[in-house]
């Protein structure tokens, strides 16, 4: 994002990506394990050479970490949903106001584009029925101040016009072909140029635009290992470049730069900072980790629902003050895990809660329930979790360092308020599913925490004692060092998915870099 914005202004930009540069048509197989396998999938957190193991991190209270290495980053495996933050979560809590973000939201929404879905798949229509059954009204607004349900605003092209029996590849179809593979990389329409790939991940949107300027060089398989800096400047230190390691050859290279933008994500950005020995006099780097403390509630119906059909998410419900819910499509392997993993066991009392069974199971009963996949609708729960300084990313002193330095240690424990909000949302999801006609409801009760939205570890703020970056996205303690990923988010946005806000903030930061430093 920042690379494209600056390159378009004539700035020479070097972009480093730790993972490979995959080609959607050649490399995206539409297969769950091949693409999404945690240990050796094409979109895993690990080197290009999939015969080698993944990169490790130590975890406490942390379960799955869904993080991709590759040009496109996490947008390679996200579902494309692009809501804005709830304004109430920004105003008076961030060092900027929600209205400061609006022109940048609009810029990103116009570019990708982000648009209201123009229809609902069966699963999402059922979700909508449930929403209306619990009294939610439909909204198409981008700004949310009250409880509503909405067709999703997705960074996905319009639904293609398709006819059964006719070819489903480009140029016969253009737009989203409703294949349901969003989470494992979108290659459709097959054969289309990158600018017409349906899901507007950054590898098919911002990256090609940056390359088209002729001013941006992208080096893949390049794991940044050190931010180079020196003493001096108004902030006490100033950046002077970056060192990286070629993940294939092990060779080290360096580049000098007057501006460096950290965009490694909320785990690796603080890790790189700490491994570089950058100043951290207030011990705030890596803290205030937020993850939306997610959960899943699944309903089973008498009729076919087809969780494998349509964009993974085409409808959502908003509950400012608690968080958000959305309809979640899955392939069968992901579904099986959501249904059979979590805290508690099937068969234990649900203590009067509105679900019939919860937590984990295996064996005959689990196999039979998994077989009901095609009659299931899963609702994802995304909590407005509290940012605590104790939830953090640090360097683990006990595990052996890997080839890039000391490995990250990630610790997360939800506050009592976060647990209460998640429980409230889970109950709401169960009510919604019953209103839609579900005959049986399961709550996953996910624990350890699922990490798909990872935010806040380099957060912006006015006070250097409790923030890493200032209101311009520049780090308080190092001149010329900016943050351009979701680690800069000052909180969990009230619950909505963070990608669009991270992108909008990055666009704003790019503007400020240009106007204040380079113009």
């Amino acid at each position: 994002m920042v690379a494209k914005e600056l390159a378009e202004r004539g700035v020479d930009v070097l972009m480093l990506e730790a993972g490979p540069w995959l080609d959607p048509d050649r490399d995206f197989s539409r297969l769950e394990d091949d693409m999404g396998g945690l240990v050796d999938g094409a979109l895993r957190w690990g080197p290009s050479d999939r015969s080698r193991g993944p990169w490790t991190r130590r975890r406490e209270g942390v379960g799955f970490i869904l993080q991709a290495a590759g040009v496109g980053g996490t947008t390679l495996h996200y579902n494309g949903i692009s809501p804005r933050a709830y304004p109430a979560a920004i105003d008076d809590q961030w060092p900027i106001e929600y209205e400061d973000l609006i022109p940048y939201y609009e810029r990103v929404e116009a570019f990708l584009p982000v648009r209201l879905v123009d229809d609902l798949a069966t699963k999402d229509a059922l979700f909508a029925k449930g929403c209306e059954g619990i009294g939610l009204t439909r909204s198409e607004a981008r700004e949310i101040h009250r409880e509503v349900w909405r067709p999703a605003h997705n960074a996905i092209l319009p639904i293609a016009e398709m006819t059964e029996g006719e070819p489903l590849a480009y140029p016969h179809v253009q737009g989203c072909t409703m294949c349901g593979h969003c989470l494992i990389g979108c290659p459709n329409p097959q054969g289309s140029p990158v600018e017409l790939k349906a899901k507007r991940a950054t590898n098919v949107s911002y990256v090609p635009a940056a390359m088209a300027t002729g001013k941006c060089q992208i080096v893949s398989d390049a794991f940044a290992t050190r931010i180079l800096f020196e003493q001096g400047g108004d902030r006490g230190h100033r950046v002077r470049g970056v060192r990286w390691r070629d993940t294939n050859t092990g060779g080290l290279q360096e580049a000098e730069a007057s501006i460096v933008v950290l965009a490694c994500g909320s785990i690796e950005s603080p890790r790189l900072w700490l491994n570089s020995g950058l100043p951290n006099s207030n011990d705030v780097v890596g803290r205030y980790l937020s993850t939306h403390f997610q959960d899943f509630v699944t309903g089973f119906f008498a009729q076919d629902v087809r969780p494998d059909v349509g964009q993974v998410t085409m409808a959502r419900a908003d509950f400012p003050g608690h968080g958000t819910l959305w309809s979640q499509g899955f392939g069968p392997s992901a579904f099986a895990k959501v249904l059979t993993m979590g805290e508690g066991k099937w068969g234990e009392s649900t203590l009067g809660e509105p679900w019939d069974f919860a937590g984990r199971s295996w064996g005959r009963e689990a196999v039979l329930q998994i077989s009901e996949y095609h009659r299931s609708l899963t609702v994802a729960v995304c909590t407005d979790d509290e940012g605590l300084a104790s939830n953090n990313v640090s360097l683990d002193p006990d595990w052996p360092a890997d080839e890039h330095g000391l490995v990250p240690r990630i610790e997360y424990h939800p506050s009592k308020v976060s647990v209460e909000r998640r429980d409230w949302l889970a109950r709401k999801a169960a009510e919604l599913l019953r209103a839609a006609g579900a005959t049986r409801v399961h709550r996953s009760n996910v624990w350890p925490a699922l990490f798909t939205h990872i935010m806040g570890t380099m957060r912006m703020g006015r006070d250097p004692a409790s923030s890493v970056c200032d209101a311009n996205g520049e780090t308080h303690q190092v001149e010329g060092l900016f943050v351009g990923d979701s680690s800069i988010l000052a909180n969990g946005l009230g619950g909505p998915n963070p990608t669009l806000t991270a992108q909008a903030l990055a666009a704003r930061t790019a503007d400020l870099i240009w106007s204040r430093q380079l113009a």
Binding site: L31, V39, T177, D308, A336, T340, S371
Partner: protein, 149 residues
């Protein structure tokens, strides 16, 4: 690349583990009939050198604590489930990870394309689990994406 050589008992222990997770139900194959234990061994060893031996040993240690001088393979399904529960209940992340890994990678083997994919040629025979679940597999698109439309 060093070829991982596992302890002989590891294969049998993890075969027992995957069949506890996904037994044969109504004629559908048990996980080990799909070689899920080999998938589990492969990913555990890739994630951590000798990871499969470690996890198998862990199962035996907990089995011995539950029923003295007993190995995991000697337990029935219910008792094996208690071993999984005991690991999950320790509160120790690493032990919790071990039982989660058994669950995750067994389910991957059975419900993803893994058991039907010939990696040498790239050709796919859709797993029978997809037919049972009504999953459409890898597709270019779904024209009729809305029931009754």
């Amino acid at each position: 690349m060093v070829q991982q050589v596992n302890q002989p008992a590891t294969v049998e222990t993890l075969r027992a583990a995957v069949d506890t997770i996904v037994p044969s139900v109504d004629g559908a194959p048990a996980a080990s009939e799909l070689n899920a234990h080999h998938h589990l061994i492969e990913v555990l060893d890739k994630a951590l050198p000798s990871g499969a031996d470690l996890v198998a040993s862990l199962l035996d240690v907990i089995a011995g604590q539950t029923t003295p001088e007993t190995r995991f393979v000697d337990l029935d399904d219910k008792e094996r489930g208690k071993v999984f529960d005991a690991l999950a209940a320790t509160g120790l992340q690493d032990l919790r990870d071990a039982v989660d890994a058994i669950l995750i990678f067994t389910l991957d083997a059975v419900y993803s394309e893994w058991s039907g994919l010939d990696r040498s040629t790239g050709s796919l025979s859709p797993p029978k689990s997809w037919t049972r679940l009504g999953y459409h597999g890898p597709v270019l698109g779904v024209p009729k994406y809305r029931a009754n439309s």
